[in-house]
């Protein structure tokens, strides 16, 4: 490892942190623009001017916005995410379980989706423009084009209602046996896989095809390597950077974009937690969740960047 690489990595991380700060300001501003405030949202139709005033005072909503922002930021930096305004529970504790659930689901969806997408991509390249290629691309594109909730409902209809193989609601809890947990997440993980599959598959296919046009691939073919070996040994390593990029983007999606799937399958992850608190104007929670989502997104992008640098000899050995 040479120092330019370390410098590049350090730069990326610093940029990421700056970006996170900017995002936290944006999120805070966004929650301020929403109509009504948390006191009103908590009390809903039952709000009386009197109870509103009581609650506002109790929640410290009468301070100016910037003071509330910095108070919160200070807490985050010391590892204290504060307490949820609406229920009075400690945010860090409630988020921990939820985040774990989301990661668990994303992990298993990724374990299935990533190798499957790449292998399908490779197969598509091997039989490019033939019926296999067209079938794979067609099915993958179709599954991506359907909205998640549609795929979710179709899965529920067949697997949970008609054949009753898997449960239609994926409620998981602490201390649930691993086997049951896997059974519970089977359907949401499948739905997620179908949603992210095509993007990665198409990118793999395009990136490798791009490389396949180059002279060294022709050489490899001429020296008598089989088609798969050409792809595996020569084309794939050179196409890896864009593939990693798209894989990381999709991994980020698996974590931050699962709101709809979580709601359909009643999966207790971050998405549902966020939605519940947005409707209650629970600023600390919304901010914490938003920040975690942003951190995941930025983090995975940094990893993609670094992996691309490491995978690219030209960036690894700059002139």
């Amino acid at each position: 490892m040479s120092s330019p690489i370390l410098k590049l990595i350090a730069q990326r991380i610093a940029l990421g942190i700056l970006l996170l700060l900017a995002v936290s300001v944006l999120i805070f501003a966004g929650t301020q623009i929403l109509p009504g405030d948390v006191a009103q949202a908590i009390l809903g139709q039952s709000a009386t001017p009197e109870s509103l005033a009581n609650l506002r005072e109790q929640l410290g909503l009468n301070d100016p916005a910037y003071i509330r922002y910095f108070r919160w930021l200070g807490g985050v930096l010391t590892g204290d995410l504060g307490t949820a305004m609406s229920s009075g529970q400690d945010i860090a504790t409630s988020i921990k379980g939820r985040l774990w659930n989301t990661l668990f689901l994303a992990f298993w969806a990724a374990i299935v989706a990533v190798p499957l997408a790449i292998i399908l991509g490779l197969i598509a390249v091997r039989y490019r423009n033939g019926w296999v290629d067209k079938l794979i691309s067609g099915l993958a594109l179709a599954s991506t084009s359907f909205p998640e909730f549609f795929i979710g409902y179709v899965l529920v209809y067949f697997f949970a209602v008609k054949w009753q193989i898997f449960p239609g609601i994926s409620t998981v809890y602490d201390g649930m046996p691993f086997g049951e947990r896997m059974q519970a997440i089977a359907l949401p993980a499948t739905a997620l896989t179908l949603v992210v599959l095509a993007h990665m598959m198409r990118m793999t296919r395009a990136a490798i095809l791009n490389v396949m046009q180059s002279a060294y691939v022709e050489t490899a073919e001429l020296k008598g390597l089989s088609a798969f070996n050409v792809i595996r040994k020569h084309a794939f390593p050179n196409a890896i950077a864009p593939i990693i990029n798209v894989v990381m983007l999709n991994l980020a999606y698996l974590i931050v974009g699962v709101v709809v799937v979580e709601v359909i399958f009643v999966y207790p992850g971050m998405g549902q937690y966020l939605v519940d608190h947005v409707t209650k104007r629970d600023v600390p929670v919304v901010q914490a969740v938003g920040l975690i989502f942003a951190a995941v997104y930025i983090g995975l992008n940094i990893i993609a960047d670094i992996a691309a640098i490491v995978a690219n000899p030209r960036l690894r050995h700059p002139k």
Binding site: Q40, Q45, A47, P49, V161, V266, K280
Partner: protein
């Protein structure tokens, strides 16, 4: 014939004959399926509840922001779970009578100002302590504290002093109120050790189930409380579980897939489809909830009674009931009371009459279009309902302009602020509560701005009246006044539509709230 059917139904109840065989025999005897089914459930009830097993409910109306503090209960899941672990001072029976729980006896002075609650002996909290008069008094004190955010604060403020002495709690009211026992059946008033003053969200009371799991917005679970004071009536399943399923399709699928035994809020438009699923029973029954369009009586152009009357006559209630609720409801008559309330009197039904509407509209002298605000959250189908209203009004020569507002912020920015909008009411347990909450001049939620000193006097007089016949007449007069002069357009009362899966028995319709007033998990059982 009926003897044979009864014999057969008893055989089913005791497990000697399958349900399908029974229905076949019944059909052979020329009995309709509905009647045969009702006979069957009657027999099962008579055979007595079956103990054991786990009952699960999949419910809409739970958020990760929920708390176990009864004062903060707002939505369906905390409400239903509260009925599992909590015990009330007094409760409403499915027949609308008062059912004494922790209070063994309730008596009042002749002027309905001083009330005495006699506390039942030997009722035990989940933590092993015995429920005392002090606990009951402390509970009431906590909910009447101005600083508390209790949903019951509104009527608790009417209590001047609360005193516990020996086995009795004595309540002195600021104004006489003949309805006090009904107010005490409010679902927020769960009796807690020391009134919950030590730890409001501890989840400890004297209900049929002890809290074992509490994951807000995900699931809540309980196990049977062995020392529950009336274990023969409630708490048949060993465990109960509530799974929060806010998505309507997921909820239905969970019931069909057998993952839950009952669900709430089946959408009217899919009821007919669900009915056909084997094993699933739709449990629909009417309650006091209603869907409304509200006009501010003090804001132009709605300050003119002729215009209000024109709009009331320009709405086609029957069409709305059939199209929006698919018939799962009953016609409204522009006052907020129906047969779900004690002391209800029928009043002549107002009908769609474009000609009369035209007449009143002309008389009002109003010109131009009228803005009606609506939203999906106002009530299910509120946008469609507003459009139906627009069309029926157009036939009377009244132009309504329908504006669809975002659901987010509807309750803070539109309802109770804008002069004409769609909304809903869940209803209350007594007429006095309903009128005091939304029709007194001083009420915060007077969402029609119906401010009439003469009406206020009638409310107070009726509240203090202990003679039922006189009270009934007073409520009739008040209803007529709201109907003919108020700002309320009430096209329909909605029904609660719940559904149960196979083997669930012991269901009794309860007009007060969905899921047998929240008690379904405790009062139902699984057939062996």
């Amino acid at each position: 014939m009926s003897n044979e059917l009864e014999f057969l139904s008893r055989r089913v109840a005791s497990g000697k004959l399958s349900r399908r065989d029974f229905l076949g025999r019944a059909a052979a005897l020329g009995v309709t399926a509905t009647f045969a089914n009702s006979l069957l459930s009657g027999a099962a009830r008579a055979a007595g509840p079956v103990k054991g097993g786990t009952l699960k409910a999949g419910l809409v109306g739970g958020e990760s922001t929920n708390s176990l503090d009864p004062a903060l209960f707002m939505t369906q899941v905390p409400f239903a779970f509260g009925k599992m672990w909590g015990e009330m001072i007094v409760e409403l029976s499915p027949e609308g009578k008062l059912e004494n729980r922790i209070a063994e006896e309730i008596g009042s002075s002749d002027d309905a100002k001083v009330w005495t609650l006699k506390i039942r002996d030997g009722v035990e909290f989940h933590n092993g302590k015995t429920v005392t008069a002090e606990d009951v008094a402390a509970t009431l004190e906590r909910h009447s504290d101005e600083k508390s955010k209790s949903g019951a604060l509104g009527y608790m403020k009417g209590i001047e002093t609360i005193k516990a002495s020996g086995k009795e709690v004595v309540l002195t009211l600021k104004e006489p109120n003949a309805d006090l026992p009904y107010l005490l059946s409010d679902y927020h008033l769960i009796v807690q050790p020391n009134g919950g003053k030590d730890k409001a969200d501890a989840g400890i009371s004297a209900g049929p189930y002890k809290v074992t799991t509490n994951e807000p917005g995900v699931r809540h679970g309980g196990e049977r409380f062995a020392n529950y004071w009336q274990g023969d009536k409630m708490g048949h399943a060993d465990q109960i579980e509530i799974i929060v399923i806010n998505d309507a399709t997921a909820r239905t699928a969970a019931l069909q897939g057998g993952q839950v035994n009952m669900i709430n809020r089946v959408e009217p438009k899919i009821v007919d489809l669900i009915k056909r699923v084997p094993g699933v029973t739709i449990r629909n029954h009417s309650g006091p909830g209603h869907y409304v369009f509200i006009m501010h009586c003090n804001t132009a152009p709605f300050d003119n009674n002729d215009l209000r009357m024109a709009l009331k006559l320009a709405i086609d209630r029957e069409e709305m009931l059939n199209k929006v609720l698919r018939g799962y409801g009953s016609l409204g008559n522009d006052f907020p009371i129906n047969a779900a309330y004690p002391l209800f009197t029928e009043i002549e039904q107002r009908k769609y009459d474009p000609d009369k509407a035209k007449f009143h509209y002309k008389k009002s002298g109003h010109d131009g279009s009228i803005l009606l605000r609506t939203s999906d959250v106002a009530f299910p189908g509120a946008v469609d309902a507003a459009q139906l209203f627009q069309q029926s009004a157009a036939k009377a020569g009244i132009t309504l302009e329908v504006k669809r507002e975002p659901g987010d912020g509807y309750w803070s920015e539109v309802w109770n602020k804008q002069p004409f909008c769609a909304s809903y009411w869940g209803g209350r347990s007594t007429q006095d509560q309903m009128y005091s909450t939304a029709y007194l001049s001083t009420a915060d939620w007077n969402d029609t701005r119906f401010k009439r000193p003469d009406f206020d006097k009638m409310v107070l007089a009726a509240r203090a009246e202990l003679d039922e016949a006189k009270r009934k007449a007073m409520y009739h007069d008040m209803a007529v006044m709201v109907r003919d002069e108020g700002g309320l357009i009430l096209p329909m009362f909605n029904q609660f539509i719940d559904a149960t899966g196979a083997k669930v028995d012991g269901w009794v319709d309860d007009p007060h709230q969905e899921l047998m007033n929240g008690y379904a998990l405790a009062k139902c059982w699984l057939q062996a």
